[in-house]
Symmetry: C2
Subunit: 349 residues, 2 copies
C-alpha cells in the first residue's frame, strides 16, 4: 500500500492540554520508524481563542517546544503570530489537509467546535477531533456532511481518551456481531464512587476531594449528572451500533443520588455501584448500576472500561485511562495515521 | 475497496470442537450483511485423523450440520467420504484458497500441524490456524516460508481464544510503541489458582476439580507447567514485539509450587498470585507473580487478560474468554476476513 511519502499539513485548533500533547507527539521523530505507512505531519498553524500562529512551511520541533514553554498565548509570537485572527479565518485561509479540533467541550451549542468542523468540511479539509460536543448533538448530520464533502471525520479521542474503544469495536470484532455494549466512561464519577465506597466518604466530600485533585471541574454537572458519559454513549451508538441517535435520545441519570448507604448495602452482595452507559438493540441509557466486583468492567479510580457483548466471542472488556493530555493526543495520532492510510488506499484505487 | 464477490474455498483440517465451531459459523448466512468486504466462503473438504470428505462445489449448510450431528467420522459419509485419505493428500490435491488448520496441539514435534502448514504453503494456499505448536517451535521460519511462497499465515485464535489480543495490538495501537506486555493467558491455571485462593483449596484438590469440570486435561503438564502460556508468549513476542524467539528462549516456571500459604500471605497485601507471561525489551518469561486485586489484569476463573504498556496511551488491558469452540472459531473467521481483505487490496494495487 506504500505510495511514497506524502506531507500532511495540519491546522491545530485549540491549544489546551490535549493540543499541547498533540504538538509533543508530532514533534517526536520516531513515527517514520514505527509505522508502515509513511507519514510526514507538519503543523502549519495553531489557532487558539487569542489568535493564531501560522507557518506554511510547518513549525519545527524546536518552535513547537518553545510555544509550549512560553506562558503567553501563541499569537504573541513575534515571528509567526497573528493576534486576534479567528480560528475560522485560519481554517478557511491556511492551506492544509487536516484540522485537529481540540477546543473545550460545550454540549449546549457544541460551539465553537461545530463551526470549526463544518467550516473545515466546506474547505475540503479532513477533521480529527477529541471534542464530544458536536458529535453528541449532531453526529448523524456531521457524518453525512463529511461524506458529502468527500472528507474524513475521525474522533477516537472522544471516547476512552487514549484507550482505543472505537477502533477495537470496528477493527477487532470483524465478522462478529455486537449485541450490547456497557461502559464506565467517565473518570470523575468513577473516582468519586470509588472514594465513597473505599473510604467511607459522602458524595459531597468525595466530590470536593475530586475537585482538589483536579479530577472534577468546579462546575461538575457535565460529569456527575451523566452528560459526559451520555455524549460518549451517543458516539458509540452511532459509530459502533449503527443507531443514529443524539443526546436527547439517551435516558440519563447521574450519581448525585447515590448514597453511602446504597454503596454499603451493595458490598453485602460483593458488589458496588458504578455509573454505567449502555447501548443495546432497544435503548441507550446512563445510570448508576450495581455491578459485581468480579465483573471485568468493575474498574476503580479514574480508569475507564467498556464491555462489548458479542454473538460468538462472548464478552470482551477493554480497560485503560480515559483521559490525559498525552493519552488523548495518542488517539489524535491514530486518527491522523488512519486518514493517511485511507488517502493512500484512495490513490491506489 | 470492493472488488466484487470472490469465492474463498476452504479445506478444514481437524474436526474437533474448534473445527466444528468453524463449520457452524461459516454455515451461518449473516456474513454478507455484516461486513463491508464481500466474502463467500465454501468448505470444500474436511480432513480428520480418520479420512476426509470432499466436495469441490462446497458443502451446503445442511450438509455441514449433518456432519456435526452424526457421531461417526466424517469420512464415513456415503456420498463424499474418502476413508483413510490423509490430510496431506487432501491439502495437496483439493483446489482451495485457504487451509484452516485446527488439529490438536503438540509442542514437542508440532506435528501433524507443521507438515500440514508447510504443505499448504508449498501448494500456494493461505493458512489460518489456531494451533500453537508450529508457531511456538518455528514461528520465525514459518513466517518466512509464508512470505517466500507469497501466501498469508494467520493465527489469531492461538492467543486469547476468541479475544482479539493479537489484532488489538496490531491495529488499535498504531503510532504508539508497546514497551511491555503481560498476560494471564491460560484459563486452566487461572481457574486452579482462583479456586485455591477463593475456596481455600490445595493445588492438588483444585487440579482434580478442574479436571472434573473439563477445564484441565488428564495429563495437565501443558497447562500447569506453563508451556501453553509460553507458546502464547512466543507468538506475542514475534508478532507484536518483533522479537524472533522460539519456545526455548522463554524462561518458564509453572504453578506446581504455588502453595495455599503463599496465596493466603498475598491476601494480606490485597493481592493474589497469578501465572503471568511477560515480554519486555530484554526477556520473555512465564512464572507465578503476585498481583494486586485492583490491577485490571487480575481476572478470575477461566478468563484471560493481557495488558499492553504503551509509551503514550499508558496501560491498555483486554479481557475475555481465552477458549471455547465457537469463541476460537470466531478468531478463525476474523482471520479469513483479513485474508479476504488483503487479497482484495492486492487485486487493486
Amino acid at each position: 500500500m506504500y505510495v511514497g511519502e506524502v506531507d500532511m499539513r495540519i491546522i491545530l485548533v485549540g491549544y489546551g492540554i490535549v493540543g499541547k500533547g498533540v504538538t509533543t507527539i508530532l514533534a517526536n521523530k520516531y513515527l517514520e520508524k514505527n509505522t508502515n505507512c509513511r507519514f510526514n505531519p507538519k503543523i502549519v498553524a495553531i489557532a487558539d481563542i487569542d489568535g493564531a500562529v501560522i507557518n506554511s512551511q510547518g513549525f519545527s520541533s524546536e518552535k513547537l517546544e518553545a510555544f509550549k514553554q512560553k506562558g503567553y498565548p501563541v499569537s504573541a509570537d513575534a515571528e509567526f503570530g497573528h493576534k486576534s485572527m479567528s480560528a475560522l479565518e485560519v481554517i478557511e485561509s491556511v492551506e492544509a489537509e487536516v484540522i485537529v479540533e481540540v477546543t473545550p467541550v460545550n454540549i449546549k451549542t457544541a460551539e465553537p467546535a461545530l463551526s470549526h468542523i463544518t467550516k473545515a468540511f466546506k474547505s475540503g479539509k479532513h477533521v480529527v477531533t477529541t471534542n464530544k460536543g458536536p458529535l453528541a448533538l449532531a453526529m448523524p448530520a456531521l457524518t453525512e456532511l463529511a461524506e458529502h464533502n468527500n472528507v474524513f471525520l475521525r474522533f477516537s479521542g472522544t471516547v476512552g481518551g487514549g484507550t482505543p474503544m472505537l477502533e477495537f469495536a470496528k477493527r477487532c470484532l470483524v465478522g462478529d456481531k455486537i449485541l450490547r455494549l456497557q461502559g464506565i466512561l467517565n473518570g470523575t464519577t468513577n473516582y468519586i464512587l470509588s472514594e465513597m465506597g473505599q473510604n467511607n466518604m459522602s458524595f459531597q466530600d468525595a466530590l470536593t476531594n475530586a475537585q482538589k485533585m483536579g479530577y472534577a471541574e468546579r462546575e461538575p454537572t457535565m460529569d456527575i449528572d451523566g452528560f459526559d458519559t451520555a455524549c460518549k454513549i451517543v458516539i458509540l451508538s452511532n459509530w459502533i451500533m449503527g443507531k443514529k441517535i443524539t443526546l436527547r435520545d439517551v435516558d440519563i441519570t447521574g450519581i448525585r443520588d447515590v448514597t453511602l448507604e446504597m454503596l454499603k448495602d451493595s458490598v453485602k452482595r460483593n458488589s458496588t455501584i458504578k455509573l454505567i452507559g449502555t447501548v443495546d438493540n432497544n435503548k441507550a441509557s446512563v445510570k448508576p448500576v450495581e455491578i459485581s466486583w468480579s465483573d471485568p468492567l468493575c474498574v476503580s479510580g479514574v480508569l475507564n472500561a467498556i464491555t462489548f457483548r458479542t454473538e460468538y466471542a462472548a464478552d470482551q472488556t477493554l480497560i485503560g485511562r480515559g483521559a490525559g493530555g498525552i493519552e488523548t493526543a495518542s488517539a489524535v495520532l491514530r486518527d491522523l495515521l488512519d486518514i493517511r492510510h485511507k488517502l493512500a488506499s484512495k490513490l491506489l484505487s
